[in-house]
């Protein structure tokens, strides 16, 4: 017990105590020295680093979304506009039970089943921390009611947002298109264009039509605002702002009044109409019936409406004017005739005697004319006026498919017209080469016979037909239809017109064109296939009727006597321009299951011409009704 005895002396105890205190002092000084070293490291050596981190914590750069450009028709009528409204949005990650919270919300403001469906769809498509609208366009009263109760709804927020509206509803919906929420495919496209930064804060993007094609012009440049935020991410104050640059306003070539006349002229029929200025290629009306209300898409379409649009047998979302590929039927005849004149396979005087059918040498099969007993003696002029099939069977065979292909390609068949909105299909101008590539089969002369009257493999879209007829109307220069007329700068409000970009003249002989025009004018005169629809017109219309056979019914279509009958009915076609001596308007019309072109399609053309050329509406709207008793084509 050496230790024990060592502490007996109190004096020694004090010495030990003081030694221990001294040791403690040294330890304390050392500890504070370490602390000071650490603080100096943080506050002197690493100061810049931590300063940067603190600034990053505190400063957030918030994108300021530019106003989307508005869309106007050529007369300044608004086709697409913006308006501000309140939306109620939910950040799902901040709400424990979203469904129950929405139920509770429904006791405060009106929540429609449609709102819930749309929200659920958005929720599936987006990330949990994104703010998604449960209800858009709140009334002032709803905003107030929510504000009073907002403490009950954490994760819900009222936001002022800019909405797109399409005041014309269904009118010209296929040309204008619509905007919708940005989806994954859009994100990829934006990335590939290197425009990701410009889309920070943007929720919507143009999907179709003008909205889709001119997205870049309409969107504008995103600005930014530096804001000071707290740890909860709430903005405390603004530290600086770079203003966004609004998107350009677009003036489109459409004449909305003309568009309305054209759409109404279709009545209940499905179909398409493309009306062009034959000199410039400007699209004055672009109809695809039925249309749809683009406003449905703006806040994200709800599943029920989407199903209805997508599964409708009438296919309202399909832009028939650009994507409908139909056999052009007899509307191809003026082009066939012109091809024959140009290739010198026919002279205007060449006359056949039509027995009502055509046969190929050594083949028993009879290619029938639409008129059983035949048209008698037929020259080129008459072949167009009365639409003689037999004449064109022989003409096509004499030219051969490759000559036909070459000419049709020159006037724009078989290739996209290059109209400035997306989705156009290219139709089909067949050739020997094409058939071999496609089917590994030889071209038969019999194939050529059908092509002669616009059937067989030949397919054209309404916009192709319109461009082709405009080429006839303007003296043989191919036109590229376009919808954009001018761009109004978002900042300076200066309107810059988009120049026409027509091709070079095809060099068609004027006397040949004159001959075709004369025949087409007689189509609309007594004795012609479109005489009835043109009765009393004070201007000359050059036109050609057509009928395209509907070949087969698809298996999945339900049996409905009335409907089946209608679905088997031929498509009616009509191409025309007027006034014939100085064409102002060229158009192609397709009426699905409309029967003969002269009965349903031609009256539509008449109303459009009357309105455009005379500025008057047709006094009585003719009832569009195919008459099965009368056979003319």
């Amino acid at each position: 017990m050496i230790v024990g005895t060592a502490f007996r002396d109190p004096q020694r105890n004090i010495v030990v105590f003081r030694n221990r205190l001294t040791f403690a002092v040294v330890a304390i000084l050392a500890a504070f020295a370490i602390l000071l070293g650490r603080l100096s490291w943080l506050q002197v050596v690493q100061r810049e680093y931590y300063h940067t981190l603190a600034e990053q914590n505190r400063i957030s750069v918030v994108p300021v979304v530019p106003n989307r450009g508005i869309i106007l028709d050529r007369n300044g009528e608004v086709l697409a506009a913006n308006y501000s409204a309140y939306t109620l949005e939910i950040t799902p990650s901040r709400v424990a039970n979203v469904d129950r919270a929405i139920d509770e919300l429904a006791t405060v403001i009106d929540v429609q089943p449609r709102d819930r469906r749309r929200f659920r769809k958005l929720q599936e498509e987006s990330k949990n921390f994104e703010s998604l609208p449960i209800k858009t366009r709140l009334t002032e009263e709803e905003v107030a009611r929510f504000a009073v109760n907002r403490f009950r709804f954490p994760g819900f927020e009222i936001k002022a947002r800019v909405f797109r509206s399409y005041p014309q509803g269904e009118l010209a919906s296929h040309a204008i298109g619509y905007i919708g929420r940005i989806n994954d495919a859009d994100v990829k496209r934006i990335e590939s264009l290197g425009r990701t930064t410009n889309y920070k804060g943007t929720d919507h993007i143009g999907k179709l039509g003008i909205e889709g094609a001119y997205e870049e012009e309409l969107h504008g440049a995103t600005g930014s605002e530096k804001v000071e935020i707290d740890a909860g991410g709430r903005a405390i104050r603004s530290l600086g702002r770079s203003e966004p640059q609004s998107g350009d306003n677009l003036v489109v070539t459409l004449d909305l009044k003309l568009q309305r006349v054209a759409e109404e002229a279709f009545q209940e029929y499905r179909g398409a109409l493309v009306a062009l200025d034959p000199k410039t290629g400007e699209v004055l009306a672009l109809v695809s019936r039925p249309g749809f209300d683009p406003n449905l898409f703006v806040d994200g379409i709800d599943p029920v409406n989407w199903e209805a649009l997508n599964n409708s047998p009438d296919k309202p979302l399909n832009n028939r004017a650009l994507r409908g590929q139909y056999p052009p039927g007899s509307t191809i005849k003026p082009f066939m005739a012109l091809a024959a004149l140009e290739s010198k396979k026919r002279s205007p005087e060449f006359t056949i005697s039509d027995p009502g059918y055509f046969t190929l040498a050594g083949v028993a099969h009879r290619y029938r004319d639409w008129k059983k007993e035949g048209h008698g003696s037929v020259n080129m002029h008459k072949s167009i006026v009365i639409s003689c099939d037999t004449y064109y069977y022989g003409l096509a065979v004499d030219m051969g498919i490759d000559t036909i292909h070459d000419f049709l390609t020159r006037v724009g068949f078989g290739a996209k017209t290059g109209i400035d909105i997306e989705g156009e299909l290219q139709g089909l101008a067949p050739s020997q080469e094409w058939k071999w590539q496609r089917f590994r089969q030889k071209w038969f002369t019999g194939d050529t016979v059908s092509v002669g009257i616009g059937q067989g493999y030949l397919l054209a879209t309404p916009v192709q037909l319109a461009a082709a007829v405009a080429t006839l109307a303007n003296g043989g220069t191919p036109v590229h239809p376009r919808l954009l007329k001018g761009v109004q700068d978002g900042r300076t409000h200066e309107v810059r017109d988009v120049p026409a970009r027509n091709g070079q003249s095809l060099g068609i002989k004027p006397e040949n064109l004159k001959l075709i025009t004369a025949a087409m004018v007689d189509v609309t005169r007594p004795g012609g296939t479109a005489a009835r629809a043109s009765q009393g017109a004070t201007y000359a219309i050059a036109a050609k009727t057509g009928t395209a056979q509907v070949i087969a019914m698809k298996q999945d279509q339900k049996y409905d006597e009335k409907r089946v009958k209608e679905q088997f009915r031929d498509h009616a076609l009509f191409i025309a321009y007027a006034p014939a001596d100085d064409p102002k308007l060229a158009m192609a019309i397709l009426v699905e299951n409309g029967g003969h072109g002269g009965d349903t399609a031609a009256p539509i053309a008449r109303q459009v011409f009357d309105y455009y050329l005379l500025g008057k509406m047709a006094e009585r709207k003719p009832k569009l009704e195919p008459r099965d008793d009368e056979e003319n084509d």
Partner: protein
Amino acid sequence: MISRLFEKIVGRIDGPLMAALALTLALGLTVVYSAGGASLDRVAGQARNLAVALLALWLFAHVPPQLLMRLALPTYLAGLALLVGVALFGEVRNGARRWLSLGFTTIQPSEVMKIGVPLVLAWYFHRREEALRMRDFAVAALLLAIPVGLIARQPDLGTALLIFASGFFVIFLAGLSWKVLVSLVAGGAASLPFIWSVMHDYQRRRILTLLDPMEDPLGAGYHIIQSTIAIGSGGVLGKGWLNGTQAQLDFVPERSTDFILAVFGEEFGLAGNVVLIVLYLLIIGRGLMIAANASTVFARLAAGAITLTFFTYAFVNMGMVSGILPVVGVPLPMVSYGGTALLSILAGFGILMSISTHKQLVSS
């Protein structure tokens, strides 16, 4: 007459120590105002806490050391009874059983032990002064181990460590031989894996977080990352009072209480930190002087342990907020918002003043 009254009031107050305390407390209120979002409510609340704590200081300064020594064992035993009570009937809050309901109020008995443990050990060594043996150190260790063990089980590791420190300081100052100390340290180091294995998950996480805060920057690492950003971004001179972005925009968690040093360091910079450390050093220095000059074993050991415990508070908190020690719930003494810690610290300084002034009376 008036000077007699003044003498009566401040006669037991140690001038130099009080001056240093006053400066530190004033600094503390300034920072609390800023950390509370420039709200006077917080300052008013802290001023009330301060009034109570200063009253305690004044009262303890008037309790003669001899009386304190007599009260040491009963206080300790009462504290122990309360701790057992907590273990048996205590209220669970935030996953820890720390509070005991007395019907009219709830108390945290571990706070009693912050004073009770060093006093009882000082009392014990005082009694054994004439015949101090190795065995006495073992008894002292047991007196220390029981309350520390009970508190650590609550679990409240921070408080247990601080109470352990206060008791250890008594034993250390009483003269536990270096050989034993060194072998204890070696033994402690050897048993680290065992300690690790009995630690709670959250305690282990705090230590791992210290080693690598970025492991979990929004969870366990968040406190320490944000507080080092605050301190580091303050630079040499600080961003200015009420201008700390980390503090004012809520990035620093618990900025009025345990992490108030981050607010102070951000707004007053390294210069402010140096001032604070100097004030602490003055207080500690004065405390150690009082201990060195105390006339009895009890007074020496109590004064020394109280002072060293105060140092421990300051160092552990500053080390934790600046990221060199794990996060334990220790406030920055006399600066952090809160009444309990302030009360026990100022009561401790009251004891120091009593030791300081009563000795002078005896010697004169």
